[in-house]
């Protein structure tokens, strides 16, 4: 394992599989009455969230606590961070507190990379701008493997605002590494200009792609994209790229419908589909805790030997 988890692009196949296998063990633990492991007793995990995300923060918090780590929630709201303290000063503060791991959510792409240069502990990217969200991709892969029994050779279709989606980026690299054939479907305005270098197929036609998809992953579409002329109206977007029951019926019998949440029901996904048996939305939340436990365990407790000499300031 690397010292940090910043991007799925630098996860080797064996590392990714190790995370998934470890998460499997963690998931079995969750079925027990006493859900705690002593593994990270005495270690400190800081949740450093510069963006509101109760679900992701809670998931990391629960994961760290189940491993018996001390957890500090350091939220940007109401703290010195929102009063203009720099990311670097915050990093040095965390360093002084002796953080063994920093879980960082930040609106700027690359902020966790910067942080990793300033702290000694491991940095886990919990979503940075429009760049990546590695644990989301790992939990998605974990969910697919649990449901369908494998990843290698599957066809996964990712639908929606790929341009602004950190979930899409992390999934593209990870799923490719794990042998999945990835197809991106979006209006051309929401496909990144440089997508030709990605190991994916791109389609503008959702209906053409669905019958050959083992998994369809719907991305949230934010309303503000409309005002920036990425598409004309919510209704038109929904009609062309939304997943409703009629469309879902064209999927193969076994196919899954996934969504990283929070969903905009009626926009990219209909309630009927979101609540159907194909949908993994609720499982994804539960699996998130197991996968984040696995990541913290591997970065802090196990595979990575800390080396003081690696610190750069």
């Amino acid at each position: 394992m690397n010292r940090h988890l910043l991007s799925t692009a630098d996860l080797r196949r064996e590392d990714a599989l190790l995370v998934l296998d470890t998460a499997e063990q963690m998931a079995r633990l969750s079925d027990r009455a006493v859900k705690k492991l002593p593994t990270l007793r005495g270690r400190t995990v800081v949740n450093l969230f510069f963006e509101d995300s109760t679900r992701t923060r809670t998931s990391f918090e629960l994961a760290a606590k189940r491993l018996s780590a001390d957890v500090i929630n350091f939220s940007a709201k109401g703290s010195s961070v929102s009063k203009g303290e720099s990311l670097k000063d915050t990093a040095l503060t965390l360093e002084a507190m002796g953080a063994d791991a920093v879980v960082c959510r930040h609106p700027a792409s690359g902020a966790p990379h910067r942080l990793a240069g300033w702290v000694r502990g491991s940095v886990l990217n919990a979503g940075d701008g429009t760049h990546e969200h590695p644990t989301q991709a790992l939990l998605d892969a974990f969910t697919i493997r649990r449901r369908l029994g494998r990843l290698d050779g599957l066809a996964v279709t990712i639908v929606g605002d790929v341009l602004h989606s950190r979930v899409a980026r992390s999934n593209v690299w990870l799923l490719h590494t794990l042998g999945v054939k990835v197809t991106l479907v979006a209006p051309p305005t929401l496909v990144p200009h440089g997508v030709s270098a990605w190991p994916v197929d791109v389609s503008y036609d959702l209906d053409a792609v669905l019958p050959a998809s083992d998994v369809v992953m719907m991305l949230r579409v934010q309303q503000e994209r409309m005002s920036a002329a990425f598409f004309p109206t919510e209704r038109e977007y929904s009609r062309r790229y939304g997943l409703d029951a009629d469309r879902a019926a064209t999927l193969p019998e076994h196919a899954l419908v996934m969504h990283p949440g929070p969903m905009v029901r009626g926009m990219e996904i209909s309630s009927e589909v979101a609540d159907s048996a194909r949908s993994t939305v609720v499982e994804q939340v539960a699996n998130g805790v197991s996968v984040r436990m696995a990541c913290l365990y591997l970065l802090l407790g196990g595979a990575y030997e800390r080396d003081e000499r690696e610190v750069t300031r």
Binding site: H193, G194, V195, A197
Partner: protein
């Protein structure tokens, strides 16, 4: 006018065995602010003139460099740079004139501010400072600044630019181009269609897609250059294009020149060397506007500079305080230091590669920018810049020197150099401004 910089009549220098433009060794006698005499190496006598002798064996003489694009940050951001510190960096980089960009606080959009900057430069005495005037009031792109008042001020402004911002309004740009004809001014455009670059962080392409950063597309530069070239052609005015960064821009400028329109262009050292791949570090020391582009763009820029499509090298020296760079990428200010590394990068990218000879370096770093900027007394060609009667405004370069970039040792107040730790070819040994040394043995005089 520049009394602080004119040498005393007694000050004379004999440059012994220097190689003008990298050619045959020769002696140059500098006296009265001019090249007073030339002769074969070892033949001129210092005693009769009382000249100090500089053993210049192994050094090349070039006309003093002129930078059309320097941010000196004074007034307003003296924590990042001052006229004093910036012009020291300039002299050490071989520059004898810098054009100080107008995006200061307050903006250099009145005669008062440009005269203040000009006086600060004169008092510092390390090189000539020619203030650039803002095109529009407050760089706001709404109303023309008092261009005529700046032109007739003591600062004698000839170059006008809203640099940092594009004069995006087509009508305002047309008017500005027309208006400055009255005093042979030039509009230096920062070509960036603002709607296409809202929130932009780096070159739009495969790297920005992977890194999840909002893209700054080449077309945002090229569309403005095409429009402005057409406007300049239409009204017969002079247009100068700042920091050309894309292959497409080179093509458009080549086309505009083929029409006979009065369009000139500059390229920065960083766009000749660095590419957008560096953004993968998320280290904002590589954040600059226009952004670093692709290897294909770099190649086209070098070719354009070699064939004269791009007239000049300009540094876009942009000092920033640490707190404006030691941040996440999107919060950082764009820009990088350039004055003390420009020559080395030109050697590395243009001379070592065989694209330019030393006369070419002199043309692109000294004469062409001097002509574009409307400096007086520009030699008619590179040869005559080394001849008797030419201004003794010279840069002596040690072409064999190798040095490692350590920004802590720069004269600039800021440290935001993207070249930290790189080994650079060629070093400025001495700089002469109208016969007076501003740098000797690589140190400020």
């Amino acid at each position: 006018m520049t009394s602080g910089q004119v040498p005393g009549p007694a000050e004379a220098w004999l440059l012994r065995a220097v190689r003008p433009l990298g050619g045959e060794r020769a002696d140059l006698l500098l006296a009265g602010g001019r090249i007073a005499r030339t002769g074969a190496a070892g033949t001129l006598d210092a005693t009769e003139t009382g000249a100090q002798v500089l053993d210049a064996d192994g050094l090349y003489a070039l006309p003093g460099f002129v930078d059309l694009h320097t941010h000196l940050r004074e007034p307003g951001r003296e924590d990042a740079e001052t006229v004093e510190s910036g012009t020291r960096a300039a002299a050490l980089g071989g520059y004898t004139t810098v054009f100080a960009m107008a995006n200061t606080h307050p903006v250099a959009d009145t005669a008062g501010v440009v005269e203040q900057v000009w006086r600060l430069g004169r008092d510092a005495g390390h090189c000539e400072v020619r203030p650039v005037g803002a095109v529009t009031e407050g760089l706001a792109g709404k109303r023309l600044a008092e261009l005529g008042a700046m032109a007739t001020s003591a600062a004698a402004v000839r170059v006008f630019s809203d640099d940092g911002h594009c004069v995006a309004d087509a009508l305002l740009m047309r008017r500005a181009l027309e208006y400055v004809k009255a005093f042979d001014g030039v509009i230096a455009q920062h070509a960036e269609e603002p709607r296409l670059t809202e929130g932009a962080q780096m070159n739009e392409g495969t790297c920005s897609a992977r890194l999840g950063m909002a893209g700054w597309p080449a077309v945002a530069e090229e569309a403005i250059i095409a429009r402005d070239a057409l406007l300049a052609g239409h009204v017969g005015s002079r247009l100068h294009v700042c920091h050309v960064s894309t292959a497409g821009s080179v093509e458009i400028i080549r086309w505009a020149k083929s029409k006979g329109w009065r369009v000139t262009a500059e390229v920065t050292p960083h766009h000749l060397l660095l590419t957008d791949e560096l953004a993968a570090t998320y280290d904002p020391v590589y954040k600059v506007n226009p952004p670093l582009r692709t290897a294909e763009d770099v190649e086209a820029l070098r070719a354009g500079l070699a064939d004269g499509t791009i007239d000049a090298v300009a540094t876009d020296h942009a000092p920033h305080a640490p707190q404006d760079k030691e941040t996440e990428w999107s919060a950082a200010r764009p820009g990088m230091l350039g004055l003390q590394t420009a020559l080395s990068i030109v050697i590395d990218t243009m001379v070592t590669t065989g694209l330019l000879d030393w006369a070419g370096v002199a043309e692109r770093m000294a004469l062409a920018p001097a002509r574009i900027g409307g400096l007086p007394d520009v030699p008619v060609d590179v040869r005559s810049s080394m001849g008797v009667g030419a201004a003794a405004t010279l840069t002596l370069v040690d072409p064999e020197a190798r040095w490692v970039v350590d920004p802590a040792r720069f004269a600039s107040r800021s440290r935001n150099s993207p070249y930290r730790g790189m080994t650079m070819p060629g070093q400025v040994h001495a700089t002469f401004l109208a016969g007076r040394p501003t740098v000797l043995d690589g140190k400020i005089v």
